[in-house]
């Protein structure tokens, strides 16, 4: 009996130690595959959006920090743009793919998750809330997105990248109009 208990405790300890390692970097979908899927299997050539001095204040307002890089890569065809953005949840970046069509979010999907908590944001019950959302004049999402208890920081990070992708989409769309 005591032998069995000891083994159970050992197994629990090993499982506990193994869990963070297992969730160190979860790739839900390869970013290249996400981009290709968004364009029916064949991704167009990437384009660049330079984060100019004009854009920086709005970007800072959305992220609550500077973007930290001078240009952003995106993929575009007709009314559709695709963005792969990294944003920190608690301590590590979450790589998220966002598809914008006609100024509305068509899909938002966490692609690479590196945090140990908050991975529930990957599920459709949460990400489906973003579909159809647009950006208000004050750079806020047009509808409220319900949070997930225990994943507050990850939820906030995804809301920020959703707003940022919509803002960037508006910039590149304005350029083409």
């Amino acid at each position: 009996m005591q032998f069995c208990l000891r083994h159970c405790i050992l197994a629990c300890v090993m499982l506990t130690l193994a869990l963070p390692a297992a969730s160190a970097k979860d790739v839900y979908q390869d970013p290249s595959a996400f981009v290709a899927d968004a364009f029916g299997g064949a991704a167009p050539e990437p384009k660049l959006l330079w984060v100019t001095r004009k854009l920086k204040p709005r970007v800072r307002e959305i992220l609550d920090r500077n973007l930290g890089q001078l240009r952003i890569r995106y993929w575009a065809r007709e009314s559709r743009t695709v963005w792969i953005l990294d944003e920190i949840g608690k301590t590590k970046p979450i790589t998220t793919g966002i598809v914008i069509d006609n100024g509305q979010i068509a899909q938002l999907k966490p692609l690479v998750y590196r945090e140990s908590h908050g991975w529930e944001v990957r599920y459709p019950f949460f990400t489906d809330q973003f579909i159809g959302l647009t950006l208000n004049n004050d750079n806020k999402l047009s509808e409220h997105v319900d949070g997930i208890s225990g994943a507050t920081l990850s939820v906030s990070a995804l809301k920020r990248v959703a707003r940022l992708a919509l803002y960037f989409d508006a910039q590149v769309s304005a350029k083409h109009d």
Partner: protein
């Protein structure tokens, strides 16, 4: 009960006065001694207290310290060895998930470097899953990951005519103009390899890294509480605070007696 003679009463009064005078002198003596002993600590407490009170306005949290001996005192050592590469006249160094350009941290959360190169106006830094494009001043132009890379990068090099090549598990790829894509290639390259970190660069990396983690507010708070002086420091400051209370009380007693 026997009545006391006027002389006797006078003597007793004089005795009481002497006793009171003695006690007064003793209190004054202690007041002076404690004042002198604690003066330095009190000035120190007052100055650090005033500065801490206005910490946010003075930006103490944002300002960091680069004094090597103070950083050593706090035990802020780099966990990893500093690994450096040369790119033209620039040094790219890596340690503790930080990427340094000429000893200055330019990227956080960077994996270990697999190669460095420099085109005419861009410094290219490769890790296994990310390529960083930096200006010569160290501003990050773009972070290429996932969809923007041909695969995990094993090494980075340049051909004789300065074409940038990366080697992945799936083969070699040449960077297209503006790093907008990668084309498979069989070209040979001169691969980027680490070089021993020079002493000046090592010093700059250490100062920059350590400075990032030690704000002035932390040091001032530790000075104010005495923690900076070791385990006995807080007790010395406690003693100073107690002395301050005694000084206030003895001062009050003296003032009352003078009235």
């Amino acid at each position: 009960m026997t009545e006391l003679s006027p002389n006797h009463i006078e003597r007793r009064r004089n005795g009481d006065r002497r006793k009171i005078g003695k006690r007064k002198k003793l209190i004054l003596k202690w007041h002076r001694t404690l004042g002198l002993v604690s003066a330095l600590f009190l000035v120190f407490l007052a100055i650090t207290g005033v500065i801490l009170n206005h910490g946010p306005a003075l930006g103490l949290d944002g300002r960091t310290i680069d004094s090597p001996w103070l950083l050593d005192w706090y035990g802020m050592e780099l966990r990893d060895e500093i690994i450096s590469y040369r790119a033209g006249d620039h040094w790219l160094s890596w340690s503790d998930d930080h990427l340094f350009l000429d000893g200055r941290a330019v990227v956080e959360r960077a994996a270990e470097l697999n190669g460095v190169a420099r085109t005419e106006d861009v410094i290219v830094v490769a890790t296994l899953d990310t390529v960083y494009l930096l200006t010569r001043e160290g501003d990050l132009i773009e972070r290429l990951t996932g969809a923007a890379l041909p695969g995990p990068i094993v090494r980075l090099g340049e051909t004789a005519d300065n074409q940038l090549i990366v080697e992945t598990e799936a083969g070699r790829f040449a960077a297209k103009a503006g790093f907008m894509g990668w084309a498979p290639t069989e070209l040979n390259a001169l691969w980027s390899v680490p070089t021993p970190t020079s002493d000046p660069i090592r010093q700059k990396v250490l100062v920059d890294y350590r400075g990032e983690g030690l704000p002035w507010s932390r040091v001032l708070l530790d000075l104010h509480s005495g923690r900076l002086f070791g385990s006995w420091g807080p007790y010395v400051m406690d003693a100073t605070a107690i002395i301050l209370v005694i000084l206030a009380l003895t001062g009050l007693i003296n003032w009352k007696r003078r009235r």
